[in-house]
C-alpha cells in the first residue's frame, strides 16, 4: 500500500493500454512511454500487463505503508528514498514508512518528461474492458477513473519484504534505440490519407523543417509549431475513426498529434501517422523541445516494432538470468 503525499496533478494509473475497444468509441489510454513502463515491470519480474503510476508533474511524493519492491523508469527525476539517492531506471525495495520523492526531471543526457513508478506485481486496480489504464474521458479504469490526488492509497499486487530481488537496472532505450536526424530527435511517420492533397512545398517542409512541441500538449494530443501546412484545395471531411499517432492538420495549418487519451474519431485531414514503435519518443519529448519527422514505410514500421520487442525480450531474458543467479 502506498499513499500519495504530494498535492499532485495529472498522475494516473496506466498499463500498456485498452486495445480492442476503439470500435465502441473507447480510446486506448495507456502509458505515454510504453517501453519505460514495460522495462520497469521487467526489472521487478512483473507480468507485461501490470499497471504503474505515470507521473508528469513534479515533485511527486509517496509513502510506503508496508515494505514493497518498486522500480522507477522514464524521466530521470533525481529520485530519493528517505533522502537517499536512487539510480534512475532501477529497482529497489522500500521499508514501511519510507518516503519516495521524485524531483524535477534532469536533462543531463536524455531530456524526458514522464516517470513511471512500478510496484511489485503491479498496481492493484480492477481491469475494465481488459485494461487497468485510466480512461479520463469515460471516468473509468485506473484508480476510480481519475487522476491521483493527495491522500489516495494504492495497493501493490505483491507487496512484502524480500519478495523480489531488487537492484537491477536497465539502460534506457533512448541509448539502445537512438534515433535522430540533423541534430534533433527524430520520429518516423507514414504518409496518411490526405498527404497528397498538401502542396509540394508543405510536404517538403513537413519532412524538412523542425517542429516544436507547444505548451498545448498533453496526454490527449500534442500541438506542434512550425511551417504552415497548406492543402492544394480546401479539404472537408466527415468525422472518421482515428488512432494515437495520427497527425491532423486543422485550418490554421499547424499540426496536432493525437496521443493516448485522444478521442477515437475526428474530422481534420491527416497528413501522416507516427508509427506505433516511435510513440514513446514523442510521449517523452518535453514541451518546448524540437523534433523532426522522418518519412518511413510499412516494412520499416514493422521492423521498428520488432526492434522494440526484441530489446524488451533481451532485457527480460537477462533480468531473469540475473534473478536466478542471485
Amino acid at each position: 500500500m502506498i499513499e500519495i503525499l504530494s498535492d499532485t496533478a495529472l498522475a494516473t494509473v496506466q498499463d500498456l493500454g485498452r486495445t480492442g475497444a476503439l470500435n465502441w468509441g473507447v480510446g486506448t489510454s495507456g502509458a505515454m512511454d510504453p517501453l519505460a513502463l514495460a522495462a520497469g515491470n521487467i526489472l521487478l519480474g512483473n507480468g507485461a500487463g501490470a499497471a504503474a503510476i505515470e507521473v508528469q508533474v513534479f515533485p511527486f511524493l509517496v509513502r510506503f505503508a508496508e515494505p514493497c519492491a518498486f522500480a522507477l523508469t522514464g524521466a530521470d527525476c533525481a529520485a530519493s528514498l528517505d533522502g537517499r539517492p536512487l539510480l534512475p531506471w532501477c529497482s529497489a525495495e522500500a521499508a514501511a514508512g519510507q518516503i519516495l520523492r521524485l524531483g524535477l526531471p534532469a536533462a543531463a543526457t536524455w531530456r524526458a518528461s514522464r516517470a513511471y513508478l512500478c510496484l511489485a506485481g503491479g498496481i492493484d486496480v480492477p481491469a475494465v474492458l481488459g485494461s487497468r489504464s485510466t480512461q479520463l474521458r469515460g471516468a473509468f479504469g485506473g484508480h476510480d477513473g481519475r487522476a491521483l490526488r493527495q491522500g489516495d492509497r494504492l495497493a501493490a499486487v505483491a507487496p512484502g519484504a524480500g519478495q523480489r530481488p531488487t537492484g537491477l537496472g536497465a539502460v534506457p532505450p533512448a541509448f539502445c534505440l537512438p534515433l535522430s536526424q540533423d541534430g534533433l530527435p527524430a520520429i518516423r511517420v507514414l504518409p496518411a490519407a490526405e498527404y497528397d492533397r498538401y502542396t509540394a512545398a508543405s510536404r517538403a517542409a513537413f519532412w524538412g523543417e523542425p517542429w516544436r512541441i507547444t505548451p498545448q500538449s498533453d496526454r490527449y494530443g500534442y500541438r506542434l509549431a512550425g511551417p504552415t501546412l497548406t492543402p492544394s484545395a480546401p479539404i472537408e471531411l466527415r468525422s472518421h475513426g482515428i488512432v494515437p499517432g495520427v497527425i491532423q492538420v486543422p485550418h490554421g495549418g499547424q499540426p496536432i498529434v493525437q496521443m493516448r487519451d485522444a478521442q477515437p474519431s475526428g474530422g481534420y485531414p491527416k497528413i501522416g501517422t507516427i508509427i506505433e514503435a516511435d510513440l514513446w519518443r514523442l510521449g517523452q519529448a518535453p514541451i518546448g523541445s524540437r523534433l523532426r519527422f522522418v518519412e518511413t514505410d510499412w516494412e520499416t514500421a514493422l521492423a521498428a516494432r520488432d526492434a522494440n520487442e526484441a530489446w524488451l525480450a533481451n532485457l527480460a531474458r537477462l533480468a531473469d538470468l540475473r534473478r536466478i543467479a542471485t
Binding site: 534532469a106 537496472g169 539502460v171 537477462l318
Partner: protein
C-alpha cells in the same frame, strides 16, 4: 595462519589454466588471494591496504549512469555500505557495483566502458572503521 605451500601452488597452477582474473579464498583465520594475468599467478600479500571491488559479472564497466554526466563515485568520494559506486552494463541490463562497507574511493581501476570479466578489479576503497 596460512595454507600449506603445496596447496597454494596447486591452486595457482589451476588458476593459471583458467580465464579467471583472481582467486579469493577465505576461511576461519585464512585469507588467500591470487591474481592471474596471462598465465602468471601471483599471491597478494595480506592484509591488503585497500579493499579492491571486483566485477560481480562479465560486462562493461561504467563509472557513471548512462543518464548522468558525473561519475557515481569519483576518487575521494565517501561512500556508505550498500551504495552503488559503479555499474556493469550487460547488454540492456545494468548491474550495480556496491560498496561493502563505509569507505573512501581511492582509485578507479577499470577504464570507463572497458569490457571486464568476473573478478576484474574495478575500484579500490579505503574502508572506514567508524
Amino acid at each position: 595462519m596460512s595454507l600449506p605451500a603445496a596447496d597454494i601452488a596447486r591452486l595457482a597452477a589451476w588458476l593459471a589454466q583458467t580465464d579467471l582474473a583472481a582467486l579469493d579464498l577465505r576461511g576461519p583465520g585464512v585469507h588467500l588471494r591470487l591474481h592471474h594475468v596471462a598465465g602468471t599467478v601471483t599471491e597478494v600479500e595480506e592484509p591488503p591496504p585497500v579493499t579492491v571491488i571486483t566485477a560481480p559479472s562479465v560486462g562493461h564497466f561504467l563509472a557513471a549512469h548512462p543518464l548522468h554526466d558525473h561519475p557515481l563515485a569519483p576518487i575521494g568520494t565517501r561512500v556508505a555500505a550498500g551504495q552503488a559506486i559503479a555499474l556493469l552494463r550487460v547488454g540492456p541490463l545494468l548491474l550495480p557495483v556496491t560498496a561493502p562497507c563505509p569507505a573512501i574511493v581511492v582509485d578507479v581501476i577499470a577504464a570507463p566502458g572497458a569490457a571486464v570479466g568476473y573478478g576484474t578489479p574495478l575500484i579500490a576503497l579505503h574502508p572506514l572503521t567508524d
